[in-house]
């Protein structure tokens, strides 16, 4: 390679690395140092505060409900989009993608307008004793909304790529639709599904905007961990905010590792 070419290569490499350092690594590194400013004992105290633990459990609960529902929906939706043909199919595709393009705050507002007091279904739901907004169901719905497209988006290209031959063969050999799906389709799309689940989980764990609007942010009740972080920050308890962030960051790191494993699995 010419000297000129080598120079360009170096310049590009270090521009990329410098950019990533300033944008990602440096802020995270500095925040990490700041978290332990007052020692590890203080961090542990902050994480084990009852309100923090409650927020953590709340976050896990929403993930535990939203992720399985969105996984089933995502697979069904991808199957429908790739394997069937009907009028208005593109419309379903467009609506599945919507949550990617809509601001989380708008999503929260939309849910309030339908399920809140004075909303379209709010009064009827209140009559049967169900409170959605400012309560757990609202948070779960917000999280479901924002993390809806991930599984479908990951599975659709995989389904397109594997084609229908194996499925058709299974059917001619007398397999039922469910058998074909379980023994042929599902094993073929498993990496796509897993990757989608990881992305869904990441988004569900961290959702802030939509949940802020619908939850009412009641400490010890409807507060998820991201909301707890923001509240501690607003109350000038920066150690509390950084400590809870650390928990979220560790969860994010786990997700990141899972993403990488999935990607390797796909190859």
């Amino acid at each position: 390679m010419t000297d000129n070419g080598r120079l360009t290569r170096w310049a590009l490499r270090y521009t990329a690395l410098l950019y990533l350092t300033c944008l990602l690594l440096l802020p995270i590194g500095v925040a990490l140092v700041k978290t332990f400013d007052e020692g590890i004992g203080e961090v542990i105290d902050q994480i084990t505060e009852p309100d923090a633990i409650h927020a953590f459990k709340m976050t896990l609960l929403t993930v535990a409900i939203a992720v399985p529902l969105n996984t089933v929906f995502g697979i069904a939706c991808a199957h429908l989009m790739v394997r069937s043909n009907f009028k208005g199919k593109w419309l379903i595709g467009a609506f599945v993608d919507m949550p990617f393009a809509v601001s989380p705050v708008v999503i929260g507002l939309a849910l309030i307008l339908v399920y809140g007091t004075g909303g379209w279904f709010g009064a009827d739901l209140a009559e049967v004793g169900i409170q959605v907004i400012f309560s757990t169901p609202g948070i779960v719905m917000a999280v479901i909304f924002v993390s809806l497209p991930f599984v479908a988006r990951e599975v659709i290209p995989v389904l397109q790529e594997i084609g229908e031959d194996a499925e058709a063969a299974a059917e001619t050999l007398g397999a039922t639709g469910w058998q074909t799906f379980r023994k042929i389709t599902l094993p073929a799309i498993r990496w796509g599904v897993s990757y989608g689940i990881v992305l869904t989980t990441a988004r569900a764990l961290g959702e802030f905007g939509a949940v802020t609007v619908v939850s009412g942010n009641i400490t010890g009740e409807t507060q998820t961990l991201p909301l707890y972080v923001s509240q501690q920050f607003d109350q000038f308890n920066s150690v509390g905010a950084y400590s809870a962030s650390l928990v979220l960051a560790i969860l994010a790191l786990g997700t990141l590792l899972a993403m990488n494993l999935m990607r390797r699995g796909e190859d």
Binding site: L12, F73, G209, V229, A249
Partner: protein
């Protein structure tokens, strides 16, 4: 399945549109053109455009380095790209504030300025262009480049005439997704921007303010504006993807 989609996505979005126009066009127009709403929308669109332009250049550059270059630790750098998707936005906001805020160890005081909004948006949108361009670069046939080189084309010419046109669909799709994300971002911006009306208040923060002050029609109206822009972007992504696949079938 349609019920699920309906209850969670369709009906709520329809409710927003209905609410925005519940007092007629006049009120909608008044809400959208109020000085504070206009300022918030302008700021959001301007910052998003800047962010997207930086992303188009840096995202392509990073993808190029990750595919064509080789250096120790490349695999780690490659996996770090996904961090903004994995890290909760409020944590992102807090970490950026630590480095670029008033207690910055580097002495950079960007918080409560428009620069802070841009930094926050750059953080959350980083993966879009990189991840859209990377597969295109990987699948690019390098014979064309060798042929051009043996015919005496300069490196710059090879990039602009052969490589770049092949990357355009990826860059465009990544840019559109990043733009949609930047328009609606809330969590990453909220701590670092200071949310000063007319200065650093983005559209999503404006909407939240209106919800909290119970001015739901104003909140819905500005939401409708964001929704329309997002829909146009989604249609654009789909068109670009179809255009990118035009020779495949």
């Amino acid at each position: 399945m349609v019920t699920y989609l309906g209850l969670i996505v369709l009906i709520p979005l329809a409710a927003i549109v209905t609410k925005a126009f519940s007092d007629g066009w006049g009120t909608f127009w008044e809400s959208v053109t109020s000085p504070q709403a206009v300022a918030a929308l302008e700021l959001t669109v301007t910052c998003s455009l800047i962010v997207v332009a930086i992303n188009a250049v840096m995202g392509t550059l990073i993808a190029w380095v990750l595919v064509r270059d080789d250096f120790p630790g490349k695999a780690i750098v490659n996996s770090v790209i996904d961090l903004p998707f994995a890290l909760p936005t409020i944590v992102a906001s807090l970490t950026l504030l630590t480095l670029y805020g008033n207690d910055s160890p580097l002495g950079i005081h960007a918080s409560y300025t428009r620069v802070a909004v841009v930094i926050a948006l750059l953080f959350v949108t980083l993966p879009f262009v990189v991840r859209a361009v990377q597969p295109l670069l990987l699948s690019l046939d390098r014979d064309m480049e060798s042929a051009a080189e043996s015919l005496g084309a300069s490196r710059g010419r090879i990039f602009w005439r052969i490589v770049f046109p092949n990357l355009v669909p990826g860059i465009a799709a990544g840019v559109a997704l990043a733009f949609a994300r930047a328009l609606g971002e809330f969590g990453a911006v909220i701590l670092i921007s200071g949310n000063v009306p007319f200065k650093t208040e983005v559209a999503s923060v404006f909407i939240r303010g209106k919800i909290e002050s119970d001015n739901v029609i104003a909140a819905s109206s500005v939401s409708v504006v964001l929704l329309v822009v997002s829909l146009v972007l989604l249609a654009f992504v789909n068109a670009v993807q179809k255009w990118g696949l035009r020779y495949d079938r």
